[in-house]
Symmetry: D2
């Protein structure tokens, strides 16, 4: 029912490395894809001083980037690198102040149509059960 993704984790990583060099900063990878599955993906944001805000927690824009890349990766893995999906809408709720440390994003695609894909992201601080943020994004898929 949910077909296997067309790209492996290694293929997704190689694609991101080539196409999104800005995911590196000062030579360090900031966002890493941990796994891809049928209509799902799991990513990790390495905490880094650039993402800090007053209070020392991971910033909203850093979590936004994690969500945006994460849903993109789940679409990419599922349909293959045949077209460049573009974010059209992203709605994010910040639920709790995250502690120091890495942030994990669990991504799940709610819809993968011919023209639009919709994905959901739930963000957790590592080792914590309660989500720190939740987001839903829509991506436009160009005609193939």
């Amino acid at each position: 029912m949910r077909p296997d993704p067309k790209m492996s984790l290694a293929e997704v990583e190689a694609f991101l490395e080539a196409e999104f060099p800005q995911l590196r900063h000062g030579g360090r990878i900031m966002v890493r894809v941990e796994s891809v599955g049928p209509m799902t993906a799991r990513l990790r944001l390495h905490s880094d001083e650039r993402h800090l805000r007053p209070g020392g927690t991971v910033s909203g824009p850093a979590m936004f980037m994690l969500v945006d890349v994460g849903i993109y990766v789940a679409i990419l893995a599922q349909i293959g690198p045949v077209a460049l999906a573009v974010t059209t809408n992203l709605n994010i709720n910040f639920l709790r102040k995250p502690p120091h440390g890495d942030i994990l994003a669990e991504i799940s695609l709610l819809k993968l149509g011919k023209r639009l894909a919709v994905g959901e992201a739930t963000l957790f601080a590592e080792g914590d059960d309660e989500p720190v943020a939740h987001a839903v994004g829509t991506y436009s898929i160009p005609p193939r």
Copy 2:
């Protein structure tokens, strides 16, 4: 009806400089506040290679950061640096692929209550009439 903001442009800039050092990158300011007014603010995102994506346009996360800082600045200027407003929800629509160059954000507060503030942001590429993005954000204002 809409009272003048409590902070001047210079005061807002000094506050951001002290509290948000991450708005600098490599010594350069990435986001500058151009003006504050009653329930409004105008900001500029200096384009910078870190914000680029495949295709060479300003990235979604960079525009998200501009919106997030912009609505925060409009609230801060209006009520003064008495409390740290926290983003609880931000919904952004990406409307057009922005060309190279700076992005301007026109911010307008739709509501400034005791506990919640809601602001709207319309983003333009400099010199262009059609918006490249539009966002609405909600901020929680701590008890004073």
Copy 3:
């Protein structure tokens, strides 16, 4: 730059009357289009006991319906009744408790592309300056 709409107010009203009989209730029209213009529309929600909630104000779902019909009407008037636009995303912020009485919606299209249209709605209680709600919606336009 913004071309005139393809449908007149009378044409839009006739179309809605034929295609959306549910905008009537017990023989009374609940939502009326007051004007259409280039990329804009203005609608009125007649207050009605069915829309009330505890406290006697207009309900959230009634305001949602007003926004949803309003952005649809602005798209319809602009491009003509050639295709049935479908709501894909709607984000609404409720800003103030509306008093008794009619609600007016000012609609403005932020984007009218070939595949997606995005519109903004600001809702006011009649005679009041402060908005009671604000919404942004995305509509998918079928291939023509």
Copy 4:
């Protein structure tokens, strides 16, 4: 960790019956609460000619109402009828055209704070696995 709700299903139903008479239409209940659990609820929208649109499917406003009541019910059941939560933001994505028939809403609270609660709703057509809509809503909880 997630304490049991303070209200039973029968108590929630009696509260809604008394406080939201508009959930009835022409004597028929349109929305029924099927269950409440720790931070969760399940509701059913009875399909009804008033909710139809061109094409014969359940309307967006009817699904919005189902979500809005559903998250409200999950909060109410969890904290008891001590305060009237008010919707401040609701973001809904329409994913597929629902077929005729009842719509089920699975509600889950992502956060239940002192001042704000955030809930998620996934809507299904009865007997179908793929969601027809997904929504996230924020509710303000008055000081107790």
